[in-house]
Symmetry: C2
């Protein structure tokens, strides 16, 4: 029996864009939108909300900004069954640059923050809610947060009006037992809220950890087509939809768009299981060193990378 | 705290050879042997035991046979710390073609069988034990076995003298909850035996399901370098060793041999996460249709494959 409270969020463009500065053609974003719509996925996160003053459109594609005109261009003419989300990073969006919900195709704003930014994140999420949006707070890199900081953050979130809080495994460092422990802690500390999960695939555990979260009562689930995303990528949406029992979901539209639009990008961008990403996941480190290695001409020198990052550790 | 009863088995050459008819150069097998030895892995499965009359050496490489002279050639001069295993398929090896343990470098024979072959498997395993080998029985494709057949097989195995019985997810169809259920059933039905696990990675769950089995008390764990194996491949050994806490294990030798010998093969053979393998996993089907599709010139026509195999199913 499926759990009707479960909602699935596609992060293909938003998280995948971390690999190419969101330089996707309109045709790509439109195809992903249509496929997710047809698959009856609940939400599509189409990019980041950023102030135009914070980043240059010469360097970054449209989906770093998610201007209403950008969204209209790719969704025009397709009946909208899916809700649209954009992610906002603390410090990269001015309040005044966020339109009223009445003037926007966006339905949700997800505020991403590190644990020390919780107060700013709550304020921004409240602001978005006052403008008419659904809102979440996604606390990143929890695998590096100590118990006292985590408990203080959860206390602050419990007192907020933000209804959905995400557990995020930014570094792909968690095993299912970590997901069990943290899901249960989030649920116990935030009894009136819905908990979400966003996993990275450094140790090939993003899908398995999403299932572990479901078993623990987590109801908002992130995935992306063929797992596209930063570094090792995310939970593959086609696996997640095949697992979930809600009869409304359709897998075929996802397979079609993976064939037509995602696999061609996979030949240009190296997301997925590669040893450098695996190593930073095992070591619970940010993937930036692995990404730099993968972008260098020494990408296949994986023993050098292993030696470089394990110098001071015990993964020998 | 690590569990000292846990033993790790490398299946790189045996399961990887299913993709190239074991046409590995001696240098490859020797490098894998040396790396597993240096990593302090417990067992290496070097291939299949087959009668020379059953297969042609013109078509199949040495590791379809594992003749003593083959093994000597690749292990010569390297101090043997690891135990060596070979797999035997029912009907493909004559009893008389199995040497006495005293005349062999092999330490273990693992008998692979389908559930209807249990009696023949027990007889062959007993024969190997009488010749001096450690022995296991690996019951394949359990995801397609009904409850009555499974219980009868477990009853027969309980009465046998074979000390190690493997739970095998041949099609990569199991979720962690299936592993929980079946591990517990195997443990309860076979209280005097050790249980092993061999997973396939069609749904990116081989490592996660191996962890689930560990949590349930399973102590013999199969993996392969970079996950090499039939179709979607196996549990990646480098992930498994990084997870296990036994301080004897070393990851670096695995990274080195992945760089020097496995990644070059990955450019020639498509094991790993590909949509056709994912689809047969979700559908709990043998991967042969997916393998045929992957070997055709229509490999990237994944929607055609989806349509072909889901005609009569509900994965739409």
């Amino acid at each position: 029996m499926f759990r009707p409270q479960i909602k699935v969020m596609d992060c293909t463009v938003r998280d995948g864009g971390l690999m190419n500065k969101w330089q996707f053609e309109d045709d790509f974003v439109r195809a992903v939108y249509k496929a997710c719509n047809d698959a009856h996925i609940d939400y599509m996160e189409i990019g980041y909300l950023s102030s135009e003053s914070a980043f240059s459109r010469k360097e970054y594609g449209s989906w770093k900004f998610c201007a209403e005109s950008d969204i209209q261009r790719v969704t025009h003419g397709i009946e909208k069954k899916i809700k649209l989300s954009a992610m906002a990073d603390i410090g990269r969006i001015e309040y005044d640059d966020i339109p009223l919900k009445a003037d926007s195709s966006l339905d949700m704003v997800r505020v991403a923050c590190y644990v020390h930014q919780i107060d700013a994140a709550i304020a921004l999420a409240h602001h978005c809610m006052e403008k008419g949006y659904e809102a979440t707070i996604n606390v990143m890199a929890v695998s590096t947060v100590g118990l006292r900081d985590l408990e203080e953050a959860l206390d602050d979130l419990a007192k907020s009006r933000v209804p959905i809080i995400y557990l995020v495994d930014s570094f792909g460092a968690f095993y299912s037992e970590d997901i069990d422990t943290l899901s249960q802690k989030y649920m116990a500390s935030l009894p009136d809220k819905t908990i979400g999960i966003h996993c990275h695939n450094n140790q090939q555990l993003a899908f398995a950890n999403t299932i572990a979260a479901i078993i623990n009562g987590v109801n908002y689930l992130d995935g992306s087509l063929y797992g596209i995303g930063r570094g090792a990528g995310n939970c593959p949406l086609e696996l997640l939809l095949s697992f979930l029992k809600n009869p409304k979901f359709r897998v075929r539209p996802l397979i079609e768009v993976i064939e037509s639009h995602i696999i061609p990008w996979h030949k240009k961008i190296d997301w997925g299981y590669f040893i450098p990403y695996m190593i930073t996941g095992v070591l619970n480190q940010h993937p930036r060193a692995a990404m730099a290695h993968m972008e260098s001409d020494r990408k296949e020198k994986i023993t050098d990378f292993f030696n470089q990052v394990t110098n001071a550790t015990d993964l020998v």
